[in-house]
C-alpha cells in the first residue's frame, strides 16, 4: 500500500534535514565517505523513522530491532541519524574523526550508543547479522535484524558464506539491503569486478529478492513490508541508489567515495540539497 501523503512528507522532510546534517558532519570531520553516506540515507530514514523498534533512551533494550551497517564506511551518514534520534547530543558530531573522538569514520559499538555492531572491514557485517538473527530465532525473540551492505562489498567471499548460512538456517527475521550505488573506491563496481547478475546470485543462495529505487519511499517501504511479511527465509532488498544523492557535484562521481568539504563547497552542497527538495 502506498504511503499516505503525510507519511511520505514526514520521511522526505527527515531525509532533507539529515542529508544536510550528513554534509555538515563531513565538513566537520575534515573528510568522509560522503558518496556512500548519501546513497544509503533513504534506507536508514525509512528504517529509523517508520520501522525499527528502538528506544534511544535505552539503547541496549533487549527486544529492540538491530541494524548492522556492514558498509561501515557509511558511518558518517549513520551517526547523524543516531544523533537525530536522540542517542547522543548532535553537537558531539562536531568531533567526528578528530583525535580522541568517539566517532571514527567506522563507528564503534562500544563508543557510540545506538550502534548494534562495530563494522568497517567489508564483508563482516552480514555474518554478524546472521548471528543476531539466529540468536533471536533460538531464543524466541521478536526482534528483526537489518543489514545494509554495499555493492562493492559483494566482492568479498565472506558475504556469500553468510548468505548461504542465512538461507540454510531459514532466517525469516533477517532483512538485507544492498546499497546499489554502483561504485567502489577505484571506479565502477562492474569495471573493477562484475557483481551482476546480483539478484540471481542472491536468489540462487536461497534469498527472496526484490529490486527497488532506493530513493523512493513508496518502493523502500513496500519492500520492507514485503520482507517483514516473508517468514520462510532471509529477504534481500537491492536498492538502486545514486552515489552522493542530493549533491549535484557528487552524484555519480567516483571521486566522492571519500572527500573533504571546505566552507564554500559545504555551502554549495547544502544549496544543492535545498534545490533537490525544492526549498
Amino acid at each position: 500500500m502506498p504511503l499516505s501523503d503525510s507519511e511520505l512528507k514526514k520521511l522526505e522532510e527527515k531525509a532533507y534535514q539529515l542529508r544536510k546534517d550528513v554534509i555538515q558532519t563531513v565538513a566537520w570531520s575534515g573528510g568522509g565517505h560522503a558518496g556512500g553516506a548519501l546513497s544509503q540515507l533513504d534506507l536508514l530514514v525509512a528504517l529509523y523513522y517508520k520501522y525499527m523498534n528502538v528506544d534511544p533512551k535505552n539503547p541496549e533494550k533487549e527486544d529492540r530491532d538491530r541494524l548492522v551497517l556492514s558498509k561501515g564506511h557509511g558511518g558518517v551518514g549513520y551517526a547523524p541519524v543516531l544523533a537525530d534520534k536522540g542517542y547522543f547530543e548532535f553537537d558531539l558530531l562536531k568531533t567526528f574523526n578528530h583525535t580522541g573522538s568517539r566517532f571514527g569514520m567506522h563507528l564503534d559499538k562500544l563508543k557510540v550508543p545506538g550502534v548494534d555492531a562495530s563494522t568497517g572491514s567489508l564483508g563482516h557485517g552480514l555474518s554478524i547479522a546472521v548471528g543476531l538473527a539466529l540468536g533471536a530465532k533460538i531464543g524466541g525473540k521478536k526482534w528483526i535484524t537489518y543489514c545494509i551492505m554495499g555493492d562493492g562489498e559483494q566482492h568479498e567471499g565472506s558475504i556469500w558464506e553468510a548468505a548461504m548460512a542465512a538461507a540454510h538456517f531459514k532466517l525469516g527475521n533477517l532483512i538485507g539491503f544492498v546499497d546499489r550505488n554502483r561504485f567502489c573506491i577505484d571506479g565502477k563496481c562492474e569495471d573493477i569486478m562484475n557483481v551482476e547478475p546480483l539478484d540471481k546470485k542472491w536468489e540462487a543462495f536461497g534469498w527472496k529478492v526484490v529490486t527497488i529505487n532506493g530513493h523512493d519511499y513508496n518502493e523502500i517501504c513496500g519492500a520492507i513490508d514485503e520482507g517483514l511479511a516473508y517468514k520462510d527465509g532471509p529477504f534481500l532488498i537491492i536498492a538502486n541508489t545514486v552515489k552522493g544523492k542530493g549533491v549535484e557535484f557528487m552524484e555519480g562521481v567516483a571521486a566522492w567515495h571519500y572527500g573533504g568539504l571546505d566552507g564554500e563547497k559545504t555551502k554549495e552542497a547544502l544549496a544543492s540539497i535545498d534545490k533537490m527538495y525544492g526549498k
Binding site: 562500544l110 563482516h124 548471528g131 539466529l134 531464543g139 548461504m164 548460512a165
Partner: protein, 337 residues
Amino acid sequence: MVEGSVTWSLSDADHMTAAEIYGEMLVRLGEEREEVVALTADLARSTKIGKFEEKFPERFFNVGIAEQNLFGIGAGLALAGYIPFISTFAVFASLRAGEQVRTDICYQNLNCKIIATHSGVSFGQAGSTHHCTEDISVMRSFANMTVIVPADGIETAKAVRACIDWPGPVYIRIGRGFEPWVHKDDKYDYKIGKGIEMVSGTDITVIACGPSVYAAVDAAKTLKDDDGLSVRVIDLHTIKPIDKEIIVKAVTETRRIVTFEDHNIIGGMGTAVADVIAESGKGCAFKKVGIPDEFSIVGYPEDLYNHFKIDSEGVIETVREVMGKEYEEDEDWEDEM
C-alpha cells in the same frame, strides 16, 4: 570432589583426549547455562564439539567449511546475549579467520570462547598446511584476548570451566589429543593468569606450556637423578595475561630460564616470557626452544617433538647446555636494576 573440579572420575577421563574432555565439559556447561551455544565449521567430529550437538541440537550450529562466517556468526550470537564456544583447527581460527576474530570479536570485546584444536605440530602427518605454529603470537597481539594453552586434558577441562566466567574473548589452544597427561588429578588450584610450579628447583627454571609441560616434568626427574640438578618446572598455561610474578621469582631464585613450546619461537610463549624478564631489569641466562623460523616437517607428532627438541630428550639436552654456559654469578642485583 573438590569445588570446581572436572566432575567425573579419572578412570573415565584417563583414556579421553583433551578434545573429548572439552566436549564433555561443554555439555556440562550447556546444562548449567542456557546461554551457552556451540559452533563449528564442519569439524564437529574432529574438535569433539559434536557431543554438545547430540545433547543440545538447537544450540549447536555447523556453518560448513566457512571459517570467516563461523567467527562472524559467533560475534552476532554474543551480541545477542549468548556465550558462543567456537571450535575449529588452530590454523583456521588464527589465520583464515584472524581478522574476524580480531575485529568482530576482540574489538567489540565479546564473550566468545574459542577452543582451537590441532595446534602446533600435533597434526603431524597432515603437514605444514594443518600445523599451527603461529597462533599464540597472533592471538596474544589482539587487544582484549586472553590466551590459554592447557598442558593436558585435565587442564583443558579446568580452562574451559574457568573461561565461562572470565570476561571477554578467550582463546584456548589444544593439540590433536594424543599428548601424554601430566596432571595426575584435578585437585589442584587453577586460576587463569597464574602459572603452576610443577616441580620445585633452584638451579634452573624450565617454563613450558601445552605438551611441553609433560616433557619438562619428565626431564626434571632424569636431570635430578643423573646430573643432580635441581630443575624448577613451571606450567605457564596462561600466556596472556602472563604471570609476571612467577617468572620474576624464577629469575631471581634460579637465574637460568629456558622455555619450551610447540610454537614458533618468534612471538610465542617464550617471547612473552622474554619480555617479562627484559622488563624486570634482572639479567639471567635464557634460551627459547620451539619450532624455529621455518615450516615444520611431516611426521608423527612424537617424532616432530623430538626433531624440534621439545620432548624430554630435548629438554634434557637444552638444560645441560644452558647449565654449561657462563653468566654473571654476581649475587648483587642492585647493579642490574
